[in-house]
């Protein structure tokens, strides 16, 4: 069996207020009103929700949503979408608050990674991994994978370079400066070395990936996290990938992003020159070997994921546009291609740059991704019901359930509480911190006792 794994996504969202008329308004204030919608009674700007997720204000005044820890891929896709919906829900109330102050206008929240000035904000992926393996040996094997996976994970980006407008595969690729680094802001890297496992640190460490784009397409998120988890597992289990080391990974990631025909070759340390798809194929073939070694013990999701990955790579090699309902960059490019053909305009038309941005608007009656969804032009993985449920209900198979149930209980009893990823505490007379170090444990005896005890004492 593929070993169980915890993963989670952190999305930093772009935020802007577009006033009718010229006013200066600090973004902190708008973010504050959005917070009020999520967490009434003005809690500090870092809060866990009853679905186990965390919402907080990130560097640069971005609302950031961390999904609860998940061990099922499908749960993660759903909870990532639930974050979008929670923010969308806050918009009308925040706009109302602004109107009460005489500020009429619209708030926009974008699930993307770049603004018009070249600033960037991220979508961070977290994977719990074993501590007992050589982290550097593993990351060496992961880097070519992360450089090339943008052929299916990229969210697409329209960018003007020396006077000409180009379509890039990835939002984030042009902002990557290092292979590995401990910083997430000053020199963004492919692999970030932040190591907070939020679990028993003797057994686990964290793999923190900041190179990826935020995705609108549910299938793209499925592929992005799924393939990464599979590649990590196979390498951990000894299905290593040798000879793919790139001569200059940072240059390669930018060069690949610049070529939506996917023909660009990048140089390997051994002198060979391969396309991103050829490098991905090497990883895919190893994953297939890993899958056959797992035999009947492989779970269905892993099977489906690897099969889908192979299908996507094959299709990208023959006709990428066939994936115009599945992969973000292809969905976006297809929409823009159709637009320029119909309107008889060029890629430098300002409406193209607008579409590049508005694709990511989380407000569903405004965002272009959701316009496509309504026209049945994107394939989905989850149902809207599941996403709505995930706005309040945690994943049932991880620690997030303990946290979520605890928060729900404390709120119902109107009790103040303190919560973090690895502990919970009911403030007040029975002040006792309960550690929850095992992210795989979906129940906790002491929390159950606490809930039962308090429930009794309130009768």
């Amino acid at each position: 069996m593929m070993p169980p794994r915890i993963f989670g996504l952190e999305n930093e969202y772009g935020l802007i207020f577009s006033p009718n008329g010229r006013v200066y308004l600090p973004m902190e204030k708008i973010l504050g009103y959005i917070f009020e919608g999520l967490i009434p009674n003005s809690w500090p700007s870092n809060a866990f929700l009853s679905n186990g997720a965390r919402f907080y204000q990130d560097t640069g005044c971005h609302p950031e949503y961390s999904t609860p820890e998940c061990d099922r891929l499908r749960d993660l896709v759903i909870h990532d979408k639930a974050g979008e919906r929670l923010l969308e829900t806050c918009l009308p109330m925040a706009e109302k608050r602004l109107r009460e102050e005489g500020l009429v206008g619209d708030i926009y929240i974008f699930k993307n990674n770049t603004d018009s000035m070249g600033n960037t904000y991220g979508c961070h992926e977290n994977y719990l991994m074993r501590r007992d393996l050589d982290f550097w040996k593993i990351t060496e094997q992961l880097i070519p994978f992360f450089v090339t996976r943008q052929v299916f994970t990229g969210a697409g980006k329209v960018l003007k370079v020396s006077g000409r407008t180009h379509f890039f595969l990835s939002q984030r690729a042009q902002h990557i400066h290092e292979k590995t680094s401990s910083s997430t802001t000053s020199s963004r890297s492919i692999i970030n070395t932040r190591d907070e496992p939020h679990a028993d640190a003797e057994k686990y460490r964290r793999l923190h990936i900041i190179v990826g784009d935020s995705n609108m397409s549910e299938l793209t998120t499925y592929l992005k996290v799924g393939t990464t988890a599979v590649v990590l597992s196979m390498i951990e289990e000894g299905f290593t990938v040798k000879g793919m080391e790139l001569e200059d990974p940072v240059k390669a990631i930018r060069d690949i992003s610049r070529d939506p025909t996917l023909k660009k070759r990048v140089r390997l340390e051994d002198g060979r020159e391969l396309t991103a798809l050829e490098i991905q194929m090497t990883y895919y073939e190893r994953a297939e070997a890993y899958l056959s070694a797992l035999g009947t013990s492989a779970d269905e999701t892993t099977r489906d994921l690897i099969e889908y990955w192979g299908h996507v790579l094959q299709t990208l090699a023959t006709n990428p546009m066939k994936l115009a309902q599945e992969l973000d960059w292809v969905i976006k490019k297809n929409m823009m291609d159709s637009f320029t053909a119909r309107k008889n305009c060029g890629w430098d038309d300002p409406r193209i740059a607008l579409m590049d941005l508005q694709y990511h608007d989380v407000k569903r009656n405004r965002g272009l991704y959701y316009l496509l969804e309504r026209q049945d032009l994107v394939e989905r993985l989850a149902t809207e019901d599941e996403i709505q449920r995930a706005m309040t209900i945690p994943p049932q198979s991880t620690r997030a359930k303990v946290r979520g149930d605890f928060i729900k209980f404390a709120k119902e009893k109107n009790r103040s509480y303190t919560v973090d990823w690895t502990y919970l505490k009911l403030n007040g007379y029975w002040e006792e911190t309960i550690l929850c170090m095992d992210p795989f444990a979906s129940s906790n005896k002491r929390v159950e006792e606490l809930i039962a005890g308090v429930a009794v004492s309130h009768r």
Binding site: T120, T185, S338, L354, L357, L381
Partner: protein, 65 residues
């Protein structure tokens, strides 16, 4: 339980359709997509923000993590 498991997956069936040589169903699907794209392009002007250039130019953020 088995139904839950099924819903855990991306539907493999649809991909098998697309991989084979074109059959009436696939062609029909292609036609449907084309129609939907046309509808989308009819609608898109209503959804796109007015004054595209200005809107994009004003979209400035501080860098995040």
């Amino acid at each position: 339980m088995s139904q839950d498991k099924k819903r855990d997956l991306k539907k493999v069936g649809r991909r098998d359709d697309a991989a084979a040589t074109p059959n009436p169903e696939v062609l029909e699907k292609g036609k449907k997509i084309k129609e939907n794209i046309d509808k989308l392009l009819d609608e898109i002007d209503e959804v796109l923000e007015e004054n595209a250039e200005e809107f994009v130019k004003n979209y400035v953020q501080k860098g995040g993590e």
